[in-house]
C-alpha cells in the first residue's frame, strides 16, 4: 500500500537517479507498483509532491525542536535560532534533493513554487513566536511593521538557504555562522532600538515645539 512517505522516497530516488521528474504519473506509478489512482489520492502532481517534501522538512523541524528539553528555557530569539539550526541540520540529510529541487525550479522574484507549503508553515510558526516575543517584551510592537516581521524572517531564511547551497565549508560551519549572525541581526531589528526613540522624539517635537506654525503651515 502506498503511503505519503513511500511515494516521497520513491520520487526522491527517481529524481536523484534520473536528474529530472518522471515523464508521467503513469510511468512513475507503474515503476513503483502502485496505481495512478493511489498517487492522485495523495498528490495532485509531481510539483505538489515535491512541495509536500519541503513542507515535511519544516513540520519535522518544528516537532523536533519543540520536543527538546531546553525548548521551554529558550527565549524568542533562541527559539528562532533553534528552528534555523535544526532545519539545516535536517536538510543536510537530503542535500542532494534540496539542491536538485531548488535548481530545477528557477528562481524568480517570488517564492519558488515548491516552497509555498513550507512558507506557510514557517510563517505560522514565526507568527506565534513573534506574538510570544511581543508579550514578553522581547520584541517591540510597531505599527505597520509588526505584521511584516515574519516577512523579514522569511527573507532571512531564503538567504540562508541559498547560502547553504553554495556553502562548501566542512560541516557547513559557514552556514552556522550565517545563521548565528543573520538571525541575531534580524531579531536585533525587532527589538526596541534607537530608531524607535528617535521617531518618538520627532513626534514629541512635532507636537510640542510648534514647528508647523513656525514654518507657516
Amino acid at each position: 500500500m502506498a503511503t505519503i512517505d513511500s511515494i516521497q522516497t520513491a520520487y526522491i530516488d527517481f529524481v536523484l537517479t534520473e536528474g529530472k521528474q518522471p515523464n508521467s504519473v503513469y510511468i512513475f506509478a507503474k515503476q513503483n507498483d502502485i496505481t495512478e489512482d493511489e498517487f492522485y489520492t495523495l498528490f495532485g502532481s509531481f510539483d505538489a509532491l515535491e512541495q509536500s517534501i519541503w513542507t515535511g522538512f519544516a513540520t519535522k523541524t518544528i516537532e523536533e525542536i519543540k520536543a527538546q528539553e531546553v525548548w521551554s528555557q529558550y527565549n524568542t530569539r533562541e527559539k528562532g535560532l533553534s528552528f534555523f539550526y535544526s532545519f539545516f541540520e535536517l536538510l543536510k540529510g537530503s542535500r542532494s534533493f534540496a539542491t536538485y529541487s531548488l535548481k530545477s525550479h528557477p528562481k524568480g522574484f517570488t517564492t519558488p513554487k515548491v516552497l509555498t507549503g513550507l512558507k506557510s508553515n514557517f510563517e505560522t510558526f514565526f507568527e506565534g513566536l513573534i506574538y510570544e516575543g511581543i508579550e514578553s517584551n522581547e520584541i517591540s510592537d510597531r505599527k505597520f511593521f509588526t505584521e511584516r516581521y515574519k516577512d523579514a524572517l522569511w527573507i532571512q531564511f531564503v538567504f540562508v538557504l541559498n547560502f547553504w547551497m553554495n556553502d562548501l565549508s566542512a560541516g557547513f560551519e559557514k552556514t552556522d555562522e550565517a545563521i548565528e549572525k543573520g538571525v541575531n541581526v534580524t531579531f536585533d531589528l525587532f527589538q526596541r532600538s534607537p530608531i524607535d526613540n528617535l521617531l518618538e522624539y520627532g513626534k514629541f517635537l512635532a507636537k510640542n515645539s510648534g514647528i508647523k506654525e513656525k514654518m507657516g503651515l
Binding site: Q68, V70, Q73, S82, Y85, G171, E173, E180, N184
Partner: protein
Amino acid sequence: MTNDSPKEQNSIPTTKVQRSAKFVTTGIKIGGNYVKHYSKKLFNPQMDKSELNEDNAADIYESLSELKGSALKVAQMLSMDKNLLPQAYTDKFSQSQYNAPPLSGPLIVQTFKKYFGKTPDQIYDKFNVKSSNAASIGQVHQAELNGKKLAVKIQYPGVGDSISSDLKLVKPFAFRMLGMSEKELDVYMREVEERLLEETDYELEVRRSIEFSNACANLNNVVFPKYYPELSSKRIITMDWLEGQHLREFLSTNPSQELRNLIGQALWDFYNFQQHELRAVHADPHPGNFMITPDGKLGVIDFGCIKEMPADFYYPFFSLTSTNLFENRNETLKAFKQLDMIHENDTPQQIEFYFGMYKQMISLFAKPYINNKFDFSEASFFEELYGFGEKVAKMPEFKQARGVKHFIYVNRTNFGLYNILHELKAEVNTHTYKPHVLQEFVEAD
C-alpha cells in the same frame, strides 16, 4: 573556572551588550566607508577599492584592538618582542582574549548534534546552557556526568577562518604601524598565525594536554584536570572541572608568603621543566590559564598554545643566559649570529652596538638564573626590565626586525612567567630545572 561565580554570570549580559555595541559601531563605520567609497565613485568611476580597504582596515583594526582579537595578539607580541614588554602592555597582556559574542543556546545544541549526533542533555547528566566563562576562542560550560563535575569548552564556529582573515587584513596596517618591511614581518606573522591556528584545533589540544599532563605528573604541587577524548571533538573539549580560584581572586584573599612561594615555585618548576626537559612549553602564561586549588596547588587548564624549541635555538639562547659565555667574545658573537641578532653583513659599528645591547638584554633576562634563589617581588628588577624595554623601543636601530622567530613565543612565555611571579611576589628556587648548555654550543649543529 570558579564554583562561586554568580558574579561572573551576572556580568555576562553587560559585556554582551558592550560587545555587540562595539560590533555595531564598527559595522556602522564600515558601512560609512562603503557609502563614502560609492559616492566618490559616482564622480570618479576609475577609482579602485584601495582607499576603501584602507579605511576599513583602519576601522577594523581599531575595533579589534579594543576587542583584543587575534590581530591584537600579533601586534602585542611583535611590540613585546621589540620592547621587552613595557609596562603599558602588561595589563592588556593579562587580559588578551579573543572576545567574540557568546554563543546562543541553539548553536551550542547544534554543535553537539553535529559532532556527536546527540544533544548535550543526552550526553551529560546535567548541562548548563549558560556559559560560566569565556575561554580564549570559545566558552566554558559546566556539566555533570556520573556524579563528576565537568568543564566543557566549546569553540566559536569560524574562528580559524577569522584568524587568517584578521591577520591578512591587519598585515599592511601592521607594517606601517611597526615600521617594518613586509618581508621582515612575514616570518614573525607566519609564526604567530601557525600558533593561533593550532589553538583552534581542539583535537590537537586534547592530545597535547594528555601528553603534557602525563609528562609533568611528577612535579610537586602542580595538578591537571583529566581529559576525556571520547567526549571531545574538533570544536568541543570535555575535562574535569577544577575547583579553585583564579590568580587575581587568590591574591585578593591575602595569601601567606609561604603559600605564595609555594605556588610561585610550582609555576617556575612547571615552566622550566618543560623548557629544559621537554623542549616544548605551554606558551600562554595568561593568568586565566591557572587556578589555585583549595588545597593550595597550582592547576593548569589550557594547553592550546605549545611552543617547541629546536636545538639550533635552544642551545645558543640558553647557553647565553646560563653560562659565562659572555666572557668569550667570539663564542658569544657566534651565538648572536646563530640567533640572527647580529647579521652577517653588519658593519663593525653595528656589531659593536648590537653586541652591547643584546648582552645587556640577555643579562637582564638571565638575572633570576644567576643565583639559586630569586625574589620576584623585587620591583627594581622589573623597573630595570621595563626601563630597558622602553629605551630600546625608542632606538631607531631596533626599528628593524632582528632575532629568529622563536623569540616571539619564548619571550612571551618567560616574561609572562616573570610577570605572574612578580604579581605573586614569590621567592623562588631557580636551580630546580636548569638549562642544558654547551660552552661551545656552535658545534652542536
